[in-house]
């Protein structure tokens, strides 16, 4: 298996902070993994994404995406923010075409791919509608579809279901769990919901301490396809209790 993403001794500090957020942090994600990043709020989960997206620059260390240093070869990651950030002046179809527009894909091709994608994510016939006409859950699915439109093999999902109500969140988790195996993509998924992390991922990385020096890696011992019931298995509930405990300790350190 090839490495999809690697942090090598990364040190980073926000200018306005007194102490670094990451200190010599290293971790690697293999291709095809579904990784959840969890940690107490403010521990730097989203900062990991900002670094990968080159919105911030580490003071030391190196970040490799698909084997290449992101400084020389900017990774075209598919990024999905917590708020859907759909453009209200564009239809759903036009919103989906945005990443392709930026890649200078011809118009006809763009339209065809967008409609195809909408069908794949279970939202056919919405191309001509405006985001405001859709429910929160549907908008989030459109946002995910737009992320897939980048064509990237590395998807960064930043608490994509965080702003949704419980029932919608659960149904979208199940939906994503069905979508992911079809995609052959590596997913990095930020969340603060331990159950969500357990349900979706193959492996969980826990950020702890301030600064974060290393991450605890925990494999989720469940096969795919997954069902909610699997979360009730004793080893999983034990794992969940352990993770919750760990997060709480992390908060004390903060």
């Amino acid at each position: 298996m090839k490495t999809a993403l690697e942090f090598k001794d990364v040190t980073f500090q926000y200018e306005e902070d007194g102490a670094p957020m990451f200190q010599g942090l290293s971790f690697a994600v293999e291709q095809g993994e579904f990784i959840s990043l969890i940690g107490a709020s403010g521990c730097g989960k989203s900062t990991v994404f900002r670094l990968i997206n080159r919105l911030e620059t580490p003071s030391e260390g190196q970040i490799l995406a698909l084997g290449e240093d992101i400084r020389t070869c900017p990774a075209r990651c598919g990024f999905m923010p917590q708020k859907d950030l759909l453009m209200p002046w564009r239809t759903v179809g036009e919103n989906l075409q945005l990443p392709l527009e930026l890649q200078r894909v011809p118009r006809e091709e763009r339209r065809r791919l967008a409609e195809q994608m909408l069908a794949e994510v279970g939202l056919p016939d919405t191309a001509g509608r405006y985001p405001r006409e859709l429910s929160g859950g549907m908008r989030q699915r459109v946002s995910f579809a737009r992320t897939l439109m980048t064509g990237s093999e590395l998807l960064l999902l930043d608490e994509p279901f965080g702003a949704l109500d419980y029932l919608t969140r659960v149904s979208l988790q199940e939906w994503l769990s069905e979508q992911w195996p079809k995609r052959q993509a590596t997913v990095l998924f930020v969340t603060h919901d331990v159950e969500e992390a357990l349900f979706l991922s193959t492996r969980i990385l826990v950020l702890k301490g301030h600064p974060v020096r290393q991450m605890e890696s925990i494999s989720v011992p469940l096969p795919f396809p997954r069902t909610r019931k699997m979360l009730d298995q004793p080893e999983v509930t034990a794992l969940k209790a352990r993770l919750m405990e760990g997060l709480r300790q992390g908060e004390v350190v903060l």
């Binding site: 997206n53 919105l55 900017p74 075209r76 990651c77 990024f79 923010p81 708020k83 950030l85 453009m87 209200p88 002046w89 945005l98 990443p99 527009e101 930026l102 890649q103 405006y130 985001p131 405001r132 980048t150």
Partner: protein
Amino acid sequence: MKHKREKSAKKLSWLVLLGLLLLWQVGAMIIGAAYILPSPVQVFIRLWELREPLLMLHLPFTMGITLLGLLISLVLGILLAVWMDQSPAAEGALYPVIVASQTIPTTAIAPLFVLWFGYGIWSKVLVAVLMTFFPITITVHDALRSVKREMEEYLLTCGAGKWDVFRKLKVPSALPALFSAIRMAIPISVIGAAIGEWLGGQKGLGYFSKRMMTQLDGAGVFAPIVLLSAVAMLAVWIAGRIEKRLVTWRKEL
């Protein structure tokens, strides 16, 4: 429910207007000096008598100045706003100057414009532009600046360049504000044009109003002004309609 309340409030505003007119009418009748305070009825009668020169000659002239002033202000205002948005240096250098330019009492120095540009159309256009470009510049600039940071970062993440961000994000985000600016600028431009004419000229509603003043024709002073505000209101209304058609996302920004 809300719609109903809005409608009844609108009705109420007509009633208030009617009440004020009535008050004016009664007041004018008590004073009984039309050269000081003509009654609304007298003004409308005068407006009817003067309809031909007002509508055929003076109104088109004033509207031409207004439109020209508005267009120049829009181009100037948008250019300045975009430039200041793209370059912090330009913002630092220009913004204070633009704000300071508004402390100049335009009406007081406008007679100089007549000296510089003569009695023709350009001295009036300049007054209109000086008064109008400011609200356009500031409103558009603020809108460009308040584009959501996270949206901009999202675009950058997708590999967008500066031009992409401007075209695909900033322009549509600022469009509602641009329309607000236009609706605000229309009456100001009308006022600018009228002031310019008032200060010197041979044509236009402002000029006509001033001429009536020298003849102590109170109703004649008011008639072109009533016409002017009616046309300005109509123009604002039309701009509002166009906006409603084009911009449907104001509430979602």
